[in-house]
């Protein structure tokens, strides 16, 4: 207790120096905490935004083989799928039925490759809120050939509301065809995923794909929460397996179920239709990899930062030792043990680290609060990383503890050599040393 008091008193004796060292530690903590907190909410936000764009958390497609072995996607009859969903007992908010065109939108010599999602906008009215329009309105989709394009595409094609564009594309079986669309609205570009930002009426999309109006390509199940995805998948999978031929979601250790299914599609031969179940988490596993890389990069930067801070701490403690050399000599002369001198220095380093870490976390909290109040908008390239236009942060308690331990150990290591040197000083020599 005596040593703790002494250590605190010593730190307060040189307030300016202690504050400077503590600030360096606080800055390091601020940096790593912001990275960890941002990546903590990264997956959640990307997942939610993705599920809005893709209109679901769980997706079911029917795959058939063409005579030449090419995969053709089509759900001809969803009766069995609906039965399986009901039997599984999963709770969902919406079921979405969508078809998709991949083609080239042409207008006056300009062309752009694009996916066009066909949906029943009367039934999927809730998704209208997720597509923010810059110009025009959803009412214009009453034109069966209306199309919503993103502002980026509108700029590149130089189109305005009411312009007629041609889409060069293929039918469901891969034959060439072309469709005529009218620009019904222009949506705000979502940046990262602009290639899936054209929307049209499913009836016309189906007509162009040469499939009946009651058929579609993908069934999306929109769950109440992203976190329910794996549980709902586990409930639904056996129900589907009982009723239809389904691609296996079993994977090797480092394989993603989506990639495993694609592999099966390439290698397997089958007759009729075989279904595949994919989830938003299959896509997010790639995002998780990005998060992992970001966290590792953050940790490396923190270590480099602390290597620099450690040099500062070591030098400061060597200076402190020289400044207090006679004081150390006196303490040793009146009976203080070497280990106590070493401990005194290390306690000082520990309190320095503790103060810096606490200040760092407080600063991080304030910074995150301020940033989270800023509305970044929905037309920013960061859109997919935001929650309704706001940046959010999420920090795991374990991460807080880990950063605390790392920074404390590094500070103690930095102070150890000067502390050890101080402990090994001969009292007589220390007392006779002139500063």
């Amino acid at each position: 207790m005596k040593l703790v008091k002494l250590a605190l008193r010593n730190l307060l004796r040189q307030k300016r120096r202690s504050i400077l060292l503590g600030s360096a530690i606080a800055f390091g903590i601020l940096f790593i905490t912001l990275i960890n907190s941002f990546t903590g909410s990264f997956i959640e936000n990307v997942g939610e935004n993705f599920s809005h764009l893709m209109a679901g958390h769980i997706f079911i497609d029917g795959v058939e083989k063409s005579p030449s072995g090419k995969d053709l996607y089509l759900i001809r009859d969803d009766k069995l799928i609906m039965e399986a969903i009901e039997s599984s007992g999963i709770e969902y908010e919406f079921l979405t039925k969508r078809s998709e065109i991949r083609g080239t939108i042409l207008f006056e010599g300009n062309g752009i490759n694009q996916s066009i999602i066909g949906a029943d906008w009367e039934k999927e009215s809730y998704f209208k809120d997720r597509i923010i329009l810059e110009d025009g309105s959803f009412d214009n989709l009453s034109d069966p050939r209306g199309i919503i394009v993103s502002s980026k595409i509108a700029d590149r094609l130089n189109v305005q509301l009411g312009d007629h564009v041609i889409v060069k594309m293929q039918t469901y079986t891969g034959q060439q065809t072309a469709g005529d669309f009218t620009i019904a609205a222009v949506s705000i570009d979502t940046g990262l995923f602009g290639s899936i930002s054209c929307y049209a009426n499913i009836e016309y999309v189906n007509e162009l794909l040469n499939i009946d109006s009651d058929k579609y390509l993908t069934l999306g199940i929109y769950l109440p929460d992203l976190i329910d995805t794996d549980m709902a998948t586990n409930l639904l999978l056996p129900e589907l397996q009982d009723r239809m031929s389904l691609f296996s979601r079993e994977t090797n250790e480092d394989e993603n179920p989506f990639m495993a299914i694609l592999e099966q599609q390439e290698t397997e031969e089958w007759i009729g239709v075989k279904y595949r179940l994919t989830t938003i988490n299959d896509v997010l596993s790639e995002v998780e990899e990005i998060v992992r890389i970001l966290n590792i990069a953050g940790l490396i930067i923190m270590l480099v930062l602390f290597a620099i801070i450690m040099v500062g701490i070591t030098n400061t403690f060597r200076m402190v030792m020289f400044e207090r050399i006679q004081e150390i000599g006196t303490m040793r002369a009146v009976g203080m043990h070497r280990s106590e001198v070493r401990a005194l220095f290390l306690f000082e380093a520990f309190f320095l680290a503790l103060g810096g870490i606490i200040a760092g976390y407080i600063l991080s909290g304030i910074t995150m609060f301020i940033i989270s109040q800023v509305y970044w908008g929905v037309d920013t390239p960061l859109f997919m990383l935001l929650k309704n236009g706001y940046m959010t942060f999420k920090l795991a308690p374990l991460q807080v503890l880990l950063n605390f331990v790392i920074v404390t150990i590094l500070t103690l290591l930095a102070a150890f050599r000067p502390a050890d040197k101080a402990a090994k000083l001969e009292p007589g020599l220390a007392l006779s040393t002139e500063k």
Partner: protein, 258 residues
């Protein structure tokens, strides 16, 4: 008496000659047999037992984009429907290839070292040419003649045939074809999409005789939807020398990339 006998014989001969001509020529010109023209086109371009090798240069132009030049080496063994096409330039796509084995057309990418299913209906890279354009022609199997007429293209007498696809394994469900009468070689084709819209117009500008067969050495394909978009295919170094069997294997496609 002798004269009337001779006259009767001449009349009979004329009748039989007319009958024979009617039997031979009329069916040939009837709509049912215009399909034979398609068969003739196929036969004139099908090498049967002989292997065929050539190099195609595909130059595509799109408005606002740089001209793209793709060079491919092609190997064909028509008797077994075997087809191999390897990209030899540009460098960035070098080694990518398409291999037809039985009914499957495989695309190989040396980057991923994986084979993926492809289709004869797909475009060759970013051009307007389809894989199908360079493969052995099977027009008689794929199309029905739904109407026909005779006409002139330039100063060449042609059959003008309207075709409808019998299956959906061809890129264009409808086609209008101008065919030189002798030999029966396509000179021009207008290709229509499923929606009935004219998608592409192709002109077969030159032919070369390779062995007993004819192949177009220069084809100009014009995109009818995007003004200014066109592709020209030029064939060089055609040869009908025998190829080893291993050329038409996945292993060969992988090996040429090592």
């Amino acid at each position: 008496m002798q004269n009337s006998f001779t006259f009767l014989h001449i009349k009979k001969a004329v009748f039989f000659i007319t009958l024979i001509f009617s039997l031979v020529l009329l069916p040939a010109l009837s709509p049912d047999n215009y399909g034979q023209i398609l068969q003739d086109i196929d036969n004139l371009q099908n090498f049967g037992d002989n292997d065929f090798t050539t190099i195609y240069t595909i130059v595509s132009e799109k408005p606002g984009e740089e001209r793209e030049v793709l060079e491919v080496r092609l190997f064909r063994r028509d008797v077994g429907d075997l087809f191999l096409m390897i990209i030899i330039s540009p460098e960035v796509q070098k080694g990518q290839g398409f291999l037809q084995l039985e009914d499957n057309l495989w695309f190989y990418d040396p980057e991923s070292r994986k084979f993926e299913h492809s289709s004869a209906k797909e475009n060759i890279q970013n051009s307007d040419a389809k894989n199908n354009d360079l493969m052995v022609q099977t027009m008689a199997d794929d199309y029905d003649v739904v109407s026909h007429e005779e006409g002139v293209l330039g100063n060449v007498p042609v059959y003008i045939l309207k075709l409808e696809a019998k299956n959906d394994e061809v890129p264009y469900p409808e086609m209008k074809l101008w065919v030189r009468q002798t030999p029966t070689l396509p000179m021009k084709s207008d290709e229509y999409g499923y929606s009935g819209r004219l998608m592409r117009s192709s002109a077969y500008l030159n032919y070369v005789k390779v062995g007993e067969k004819y192949l177009p050495t220069r084809i100009l394909m014009v995109d009818m939807l995007n003004v200014g978009e066109k592709t020209q295919i030029t064939m060089t170094n055609p040869s009908i020398g025998a190829l080893p069997d291993y050329v038409f294997t996945k292993a060969y496609l992988e090996k040429v990339n090592k």
